[in-house]
């Protein structure tokens, strides 16, 4: 059922594929892989967590952070995600391999953003 979520390999190029559960034409053009699906599930989880957090502590805990900006929780999440994207890009451009190190840096960065910005 989930075989189609995995990307094809070079050996499969040009060969006819067996039709799986996700292989209807409305969907297959989106070319899902488990890695990208995991990324979007992570984003969806972030938003869900923010939603629950807002229910528990309403108001978004606004404050003036170290950058002198008025930020709420949502702003901090956005800054964390956008910054993480750029950290990954810079890592790819300057280092190129062991991308998970960049992910760890991003985690630290996100914690700093949520704590101080």
């Amino acid at each position: 059922m989930f075989t189609n979520l995995y990307a094809a390999t070079w050996g499969e190029v040009g060969k006819a594929k067996e039709k799986g559960f996700f292989d209807f034409d409305l969907f297959s053009w989106m070319a899902w892989t488990w890695q990208t699906a995991a990324f979007f599930i992570f984003i969806a989880l972030c938003i869900t967590v923010m939603f629950i957090w807002e229910k528990k502590v309403p108001g978004g805990s606004p404050r003036k952070g170290i950058l002198g900006l008025d930020t709420t929780r949502g702003d901090r999440l956005f800054v964390s995600l956008l910054g993480s994207a750029f950290i990954h890009l810079f890592w790819l451009a300057l280092v190129g391999s062991v991308l998970w190190v960049a992910t760890i840096i991003c985690l630290g960065y996100a914690i700093i953003v949520f704590r101080y910005v």
């Binding site: 070079w10 499969e12 053009w29 899902w32 990324f39 900006l69 008025d70 956008l82 750029f86 790819l92």
Partner: protein, 288 residues
């Protein structure tokens, strides 16, 4: 205090969610999926990891088109903002001149982008176009289809013609919202014309000008149709801006993977700059 909780309003938001899903979320997800894979069509994909991102980040071609794009946007803002404010300051405040000026100003904004490109293409043709022929008759060696400097000149002139009006209309609206009392106070204080502009008009126009900068930045940073019709990115690659290059890569070469990676990087740059502008605008909002 018994407030009844009514969540019916959420039902009315559903159409927007569906619309955004179809015109933004699903295409964006697809682009993310494509950016990590290689395809030759017919829905067969092979995982490539971060290869395309690395290639794009190190590609001379991407650096060149990004550089061209930044320079173009910078020149556009540098010309259109002062020019727009200047025109708005000289426009009449009352009388029959107001509607005439407003209509004249909004004319270029109403013309479809590809028509603007086609118009300027014919207008600037060195042999038969009015602009091209006039410049050549005056002794300039002008040919926008062969000389990159001329192509840039024509593209910038076209964009200035098309979009300065937007800055004019925004600034004019900003100027008109200033209360006469400010001008009267300035007159009593014996302020010069420059002082009035510097200390009354400019601060009062700050909000609309931030909006104008944001709109002009976005539009010129994502410009596609006009240079596509006018120069097609040429001569050579001289006016090959980011979105032109992106479309060439995606549809011309059918390199969907690299093109997807490039469009994500492009998207992130636009998102970052938008966020910076948004933050600047909201910062002032909080203070006042």
């Amino acid at each position: 205090m018994n407030k009844t909780l009514n969540q019916k309003a959420w039902l009315f938001v559903i159409p927007v969610f569906v619309l955004v899903a179809f015109n933004a979320a699903i295409p964006l997800m697809t682009v993310v999926n494509y950016s990590f894979q290689e395809t030759f069509g017919s829905n067969v994909f092979a995982w490539e990891g971060t290869r395309w991102f690395k290639e794009i980040l190190h590609s001379e071609r991407f650096h060149a088109s990004l550089g061209r794009q930044v320079i173009f946007t910078f020149i556009i803002l540098l010309i259109q903002l002062p020019l727009g404010i200047g025109i708005a300051l000289t426009m009449p405040k009352k009388g029959w001149g107001v509607p005439v000026c407003l209509i004249l100003m909004s004319m270029p904004l109403l013309i479809p982008w590809n028509v603007v490109g086609a118009m300027w293409n014919i207008f600037a043709l060195p042999e038969i176009g009015f602009l091209g022929n006039s410049l050549n008759s005056l002794g300039f060696d002008y040919n926008f289809t062969q000389q990159s400097g001329d192509a840039w000149f024509t593209t910038i002139l076209m964009d200035v013609w098309h979009w300065t009006s937007l800055v004019v209309l925004l600034s004019y609206a900003g100027l008109n919202s200033i209360q006469p009392a400010y001008y009267q106070a300035a007159e009593i204080d014996g302020a010069s014309r420059w002082d009035i502009f510097r200390y009354i008009e400019l601060p009062k126009m700050k909000k609309v000008l931030t909006l104008a900068i944001l709109l002009r930045f976005m539009d010129s940073f994502m410009i596609y149709t006009e240079p596509f019709v006018l120069t097609g990115g040429g001569p050579g690659n001289a006016t090959n801006f980011l979105s032109l290059d992106l479309v060439k890569m995606a549809l011309g070469q059918f390199d969907l993977g690299p093109a997807a990676a490039m469009s994500l990087i492009y998207f992130l740059i636009v998102l970052l700059i938008c966020w910076i502008f948004y933050t600047i605008m909201m910062k002032d909002e909080g203070r006042s």
